[in-house]
């Protein structure tokens, strides 16, 4: 079934927080929303690649699932 809009928004927030914590994602407030999403897609790709998931850059079910696993609080990637 398509994901309910508010659930999707919630997941996006969760994913953003996860990528900030563990993949050094910094949300850039740019005028172009597309640019923001691209930047986030790059970080999703980085995370998918680290965990050996299919690298799509999309916040799919498997990627979200992996983000919700209990884990260590140290980043996987840092500047």
């Amino acid at each position: 079934f398509p994901v309910a809009p508010e659930k999707e928004k919630e997941d996006m927030q969760f994913a953003k927080k996860y990528l900030e914590n563990f993949y050094d994602f910094k949300e850039e407030k740019s005028l172009f929303k597309a640019k923001d999403l691209n930047h986030m897609s790059d970080k999703i790709r980085e995370m998918q690649s680290f965990f050996g998931l299919e690298v799509t850059g999309e916040l799919n079910h498997k990627t979200l699932d992996m983000m919700k696993q209990p884990r260590c609080g140290i980043p996987d990637v840092r500047s």
Binding site: F22, G52, K68, R71, C72, G73, I74
Partner: protein, 405 residues
């Protein structure tokens, strides 16, 4: 595997740790054991030695806390982030924090909680300088994976990573190559009561200290802190080192106290075995512990006054049990006491002067041993053999004469 930027490591082999507080989810003794075993994983593949301290600043401070807890990385409630730790360095460097909002357990099967040993072993990898690994199955993989911890072995990726930072263990293996004959699962002593949260001392500069070296077996200046039999073997203690002499093997085995009893502090004052109870007692300052093989009996340490010493006695020099009479002799300065193991009480008429009953051996005594109908008293580099029945000095030898020098 990966390391932190600029590859921070401890610039010494002897690293200290301190458990600042405890989770109410587990027995303190189980927390002690989980942490000690986690350290042992890393010490078994590196030259590193870990010593537990009970006060002041340690290199690695271990604590449980929920939510905001004094650093910039607040915990997030149940699930999600379980713990975090800092790379080697002064101050908060090396410290490991565990999220108290999780349910901690010593088990791996039940889903009700996270196995503290597994998470601690991972976090201590960070405390030593490892970052995350993307090898599934490696300890340093960032996601918690319930695993049977009974014979837990590090993944080769973890070993490669930690040895890239510290190299392999020294040739004299820090682990016993043979187990004591019969073994029970290890019980750890309940350590001190939970203390203040995050005592923040000023950052300590890293003082690379020259790690103490084990003296050679035949070093003519070798002296001992304590000596005891244990299930037919004889253990000689000096600082954190153990020389193990076994009737079953020709060569002397070199170990560390940590490798047998990870949560005991090094530098015993005395030790003796009550063979018919399969029990060895270790003494340090005004406390003592009891072990049976590798198992440390719960309820220890206890104050030595429990044995009947007056408050004026702050530590004992040596102890030896006479299996024939079931008496244990405790040596303190120029006096000695006799303890009745059957009645568990000090005998009347003691303390007596050592010189009155054991002529020619002098005092203070470093260590004492009973073997083959003789007492052996160790003072500095000399060893005095005394015929137990006649209480007569029969020989004076070098302290390390037992090492086939």
């Amino acid at each position: 595997y990966s390391t932190f930027p600029h590859r921070p490591t401890w610039k010494k082999e002897d690293v200290t740790y301190r458990i600042l507080n405890y989770t109410p989810d587990m027995l303190q003794a189980d927390v002690d054991e989980a942490i000690a075993r986690a350290f042992q994983l890393w010490s078994s593949v590196t030259p590193l030695r870990f010593t537990r301290v009970y006060s002041n600043q340690a290199d690695i401070m271990i604590s449980f806390a929920a939510g905001f807890h004094g650093d910039f990385y607040s915990f997030d409630g149940p699930g999600g982030t379980l713990a975090h730790a800092y790379a080697p360095g002064g101050g908060i460097g090396g410290d490991a924090h565990f999220d108290e909002d999780e349910n901690w357990t010593k088990f791996t099967t039940n889903n009700a909680g996270y196995n503290l040993f597994l998470v601690a072993a991972h976090e201590l990898g960070h405390s030593l300088g490892l970052s995350h690994s993307n090898v599934f199955g490696a300890l340093m993989y960032p996601i918690y994976t319930p695993t049977d911890t009974r014979n837990y072995q590090l993944h080769q990726d973890d070993i490669d990573g930690i040895q890239a930072l510290y190299g392999p263990p020294k040739e004299s293996s820090a682990l016993p190559t043979k187990a004591f004959p019969p073994q029970e699962p290890t019980e750890m002593i309940p350590a001190e009561a939970p203390t203040e949260m995050f005592p923040r001392e000023e950052p300590t500069e890293m003082t690379p200290s020259k790690p103490p070296q084990r003296p050679d077996d035949c070093d003519p200046h070798l002296t001992f802190d304590a000596i005891t039999t244990l299930r037919g073997e004889t253990l000689f203690f000096k600082d954190s080192y153990v020389w193990r002499k076994s009737p079953y093997f020709a060569e002397i085995e070199h170990d560390t106290i940590f490798s047998f009893w990870p949560s005991l502090i090094a530098g015993f004052d005395a030790a003796y075995e009550v063979d018919n109870k399969d029990r060895v007692l270790f003494f340090k300052d005004d406390q003592y512990w009891a072990v049976s093989g590798y198992s440390i009996q719960s309820g220890f340490p206890k104050p030595i006054q429990n044995l009947g010493f007056p408050a004026s006695v702050g530590k004992i020099d040596a102890a030896v049990h006479d299996q024939n009479t079931r008496r244990t002799y405790f040596f303190v300065g120029n006096k000695y006491w006799s303890f009745n193991e059957n009645t568990q009480s000090m005998e009347r008429g003691y303390p007596r002067m050592i010189a009155a009953d054991f002529q020619g051996i002098g005092y203070p005594i470093d260590a004492a041993l009973q073997k083959n109908g003789y007492f052996y008293f160790f003072r500095g580099t000399n060893q005095y053999e005394v015929d137990i029945k006649k209480k007569k000095l029969s020989r004076v030898m070098k302290s390390n004469s037992w090492f086939n020098c």
